[in-house]
Symmetry: C2
Subunit: 325 residues, 2 copies
């Protein structure tokens, strides 16, 4: 795509054949681009991210290329999914680095959608200009007046696992994804299965609200040592990171045990919890649930997924492993 040089785009390592993505910050301009492309018969894939991109994100982009002609990557740290006590202010970001990484992806990406504030409606409400930055999370705000107050709830799936310790999280995720779908109007959207509950919630939301978007879940990408890739990994100390390997290790052991015939969820959970505790992690939850309904299972008789959240120091990590028995 031809475009003029944009000063936001770093140039230090630009090689030939790298595709420079168009950077769009305005939502109306974003929708206009999508509609222009669709009128030319093109299909659009959306990879929603909060930036600080790693190989997991890149794998989503590569997967997206298999399904659509054009790729939009959104980079937006969504205040709507953080509670006031969570790590919105310390969530890592590196926009220039992200653009470099996207330019290095084979075939590249067409647009980076990078809005400033998706809760600013140009009035004096709580989502107004700059308010999100001042107030931090908007997710717990239920003030009267003209502020943002519409939330999409996937009422049962949002309650368990991550929803227990992060009660506004999935409400914020489902809402911002709805907004992104309405702005970008993609044909396909890609989500990482590392955020398993999130992926299932978005799938259910798309079905229940009749969105015309195909949701594709993409496999977890791991570091060489087995740690699931996450933007939050950067906050781990060397020692914490070593301890955190207990997550993947315990999941793999439990999977092996299940495949060898141990179908009692309680036994398998204890195995996982013990290993992570002994490594110095603090379990938030360790659950064995049905892959689609996310209901806890006592005895494994059908496809399940082992889901874990655990703290290492001040960093909360999640991971999971599907068992297809």
């Amino acid at each position: 795509m031809e475009k003029t040089h944009n000063s936001q785009i770093p140039t230090k390592s630009s090689h030939k054949n790298e595709k420079e993505p168009e950077i769009i910050t305005d939502k109306n301009q974003m929708r206009k681009w999508s509609r222009a492309m669709r009128s030319q018969g093109k299909t659009i894939g959306l990879v929603p991210t909060m930036g600080y991109l790693h190989e997991g994100h890149i794998s989503l982009i590569k997967e997206a290329h298999k399904h659509t002609n054009l790729i939009v990557v959104s980079i937006y740290v969504n205040p709507g999914q953080f509670s006031p006590t969570e790590d919105l202010s310390t969530y890592p970001s590196d926009f220039d680095g992200d653009i470099q990484k996207l330019m290095a992806v084979p075939v590249g990406v067409d647009v980076v959608f990078h809005p400033y504030n998706l809760y600013d409606y140009g009035n004096s409400g709580v989502g107004g200009d700059g308010e999100v930055e001042k107030k931090g999370a908007v997710s717990c705000v239920e003030e009267r007046g003209l502020g943002h107050e519409t939330w999409v709830r996937v009422e049962w799936l949002e309650k368990g696992m991550c929803g227990k310790s992060r009660p506004v999280f999935f409400r914020g995720v489902a809402t911002v994804v709805t907004k992104l779908f309405n702005i970008v109007e993609p044909d396909v959207a890609l989500f990482g299965k590392k955020d398993y509950q999130q992926w299932r919630i978005i799938q259910r939301m798309v079905r229940d609200l009749d969105f015309s978007v195909e949701v594709i879940g993409s496999d977890i990408v791991r570091e060489n040592d087995g740690l699931a890739m996450s933007s939050r990994n950067v906050h781990l100390s060397t020692e914490e990171r070593k301890k955190a390997l207990s997550i993947n290790r315990s999941l793999s052991r439990a999977k092996f045990a299940a495949e060898k015939g141990q179908v009692n969820s309680g036994e398998l959970r204890n195995m996982i919890i013990q290993e992570i505790n002994e490594a110095g992690g603090r379990i938030d939850y360790a659950e064995i649930v049905d892959q689609e309904t996310l209901e806890a299972v006592e005895e494994i008789k059908s496809p399940v997924v082992f889901c874990i959240a655990a703290w290492f120091g001040k960093v909360r990590l999640i991971d999971n492993m599907e068992i297809n028995i």
Copy 2:
């Protein structure tokens, strides 16, 4: 629009120049029609209804013609907005009569979208085949499993007035309108200001979720005697109907008083409540609220709306009047 004759369409009074709407029951076919029209540069107006059409609905269609090339009228009694104790099973319907009325509208309508069950996703969940009919309202169901569980909440606006006595109502309305927007993909959607709170909720939802739909509120249409048109009026006995005229009469008097300088909401409310009570109505609520935020006002200093819900026999009626001071 050329089409073959459809046996669902009554023919007894078909005059020349009447446009026969295409009847679409399948959501994928509906979206396909909209996209085909859009690719020809046409714009689409949606008038969502629950059928049993009256002059109020027809006025919405006429208004829609001012804004778009093509008109879709949806006829769907949404179980998602009724609680189990409400009047879903007795809600009046007359599909053939509705089609006759639509054929008599000048310029006519292009499509009637008449789905059987928008909560049937072809699985064994609670929204499954026939389940809605058997169970009645789906709105209070929060079962696990594969049923419908995604709801759009406009969290503050949904709480007051009609939301107090009908706690799941606006959740159901916002959700089915989201579904209709995603299926029909209209450019413009028309809502009657008789359902004032509903209209404001949909406007807010469209803003907060970045729907690319212009929401237009259309003025209340009244019978010759002043009663606001409603599909539920058919359930009123002759005597109840006479009593129900107290709603419009009291609203008009309060408006007159406000325009003459009575700006105390308490006094105005008492005037309304007394008149309706004396006529034999039972007040559900009578509130004077800001036109946009729907917050109650003590003293009228800016545009407000008087909103009333009252029972006459077994029929609950709503009405309102804007005061632009």
